[in-house]
């Protein structure tokens, strides 16, 4: 997860011009870092490319909108990285 987090944090820092030191595993991308949905598309694009996966943003968003999940499950960075690791593992399985 640590290397995943480093990659994701660097992507966020570069994409959104946020100081790297402000980005921690506990950071909430929306509430703490102030990333909006449009900026998150850029981040998702970079994550997809970096890890060779496709973040299921649509289904996540749908679950959040329908109250079936919280934003913390997907947008707190340590949780986001855990999802990314799962997608990587699923890809190579």
């Amino acid at each position: 997860m640590s290397s995943t987090f480093e990659t994701v944090a660097n992507i966020i820092a570069e994409t959104c011009d946020i100081p790297r030191e402000n980005i921690t595993p506990e950071s909430h991308a929306i509430d703490d870092l102030g990333i909006d949905s449009l900026d998150f598309l850029d981040i998702a694009f970079a994550i997809d490319k970096a890890f060779g996966i496709k973040l299921p943003l649509e289904s996540w968003t749908q679950e959040v909108n329908e109250g079936k999940a919280t934003t913390e499950q997907y947008f707190v960075l340590k949780n986001l990285c855990a999802r990314i690791d799962e997608l990587i593992a699923a890809k190579s399985a």
Partner: protein, 171 residues
């Protein structure tokens, strides 16, 4: 083009489903009320409409790749460049290329040329979602027919997003 109706794409010149590219031809009309204001004595196609032409060409490609089961909406234009004036009567050929088809969004590159000379280019991000109104899908299928979009072979949806969808604007 029918500028007042935002019908920017006139004709499909080439579609490559495997390479995920589309080439369109788009003729700037000789007359339009737009040219009365933009500008008197010096009619120019507004630069925002050059971006619209590129965005619509990208949208036509994306819709075709998704077999018209989803609508595409413009989300962002990055690295946009307007390189020279485009005037009434000129034909703009737009080349659109899919860069990445994500989940609920897609990133494409587009460029427009007049007589081979590059006049505009940009990276376009489109948000995709199920059609919000059935008549919209019908309108776009009519548009596909009007512009000569090849519809014989279905696109491979393996890398495309699923039909069920949420709404990224609510993240």
């Amino acid at each position: 083009m029918r500028l007042e109706y935002f019908q920017m794409v006139d004709k499909v010149l080439a579609l490559d489903l495997e390479a995920r590219t589309l080439r369109t031809a788009n003729t700037v009309p000789d007359k339009s009320p737009i040219f009365e204001g933009h500008f008197p004595g010096h009619p120019l196609l507004p630069g925002v409409l050059l971006f619209e032409i590129m965005a619509q060409s990208c949208g036509m490609l994306l819709l075709r790749l998704h077999n018209y089961d989803r609508m595409a909406f413009l989300a962002s234009v990055d690295k946009g460049k307007l390189r020279t004036f485009v005037v009434p009567g000129q034909v703009i050929e737009v080349f659109a290329e899919m860069v990445h088809d994500g989940s609920g969004y897609a990133r494409l590159k587009a460029e427009g040329r007049v007589e081979g000379k590059l006049v505009c280019n940009a990276e376009v991000t489109l948000k995709t979602m199920p059609f919000p109104a059935p008549e919209l899908r019908g309108y776009l299928l009519e548009t596909a027919e009007r512009i000569g979009m090849p519809m014989d072979a279905p696109a491979e949806l393996g890398s495309a997003a699923p039909a069920s969808a949420g709404n990224l604007t609510h993240v």
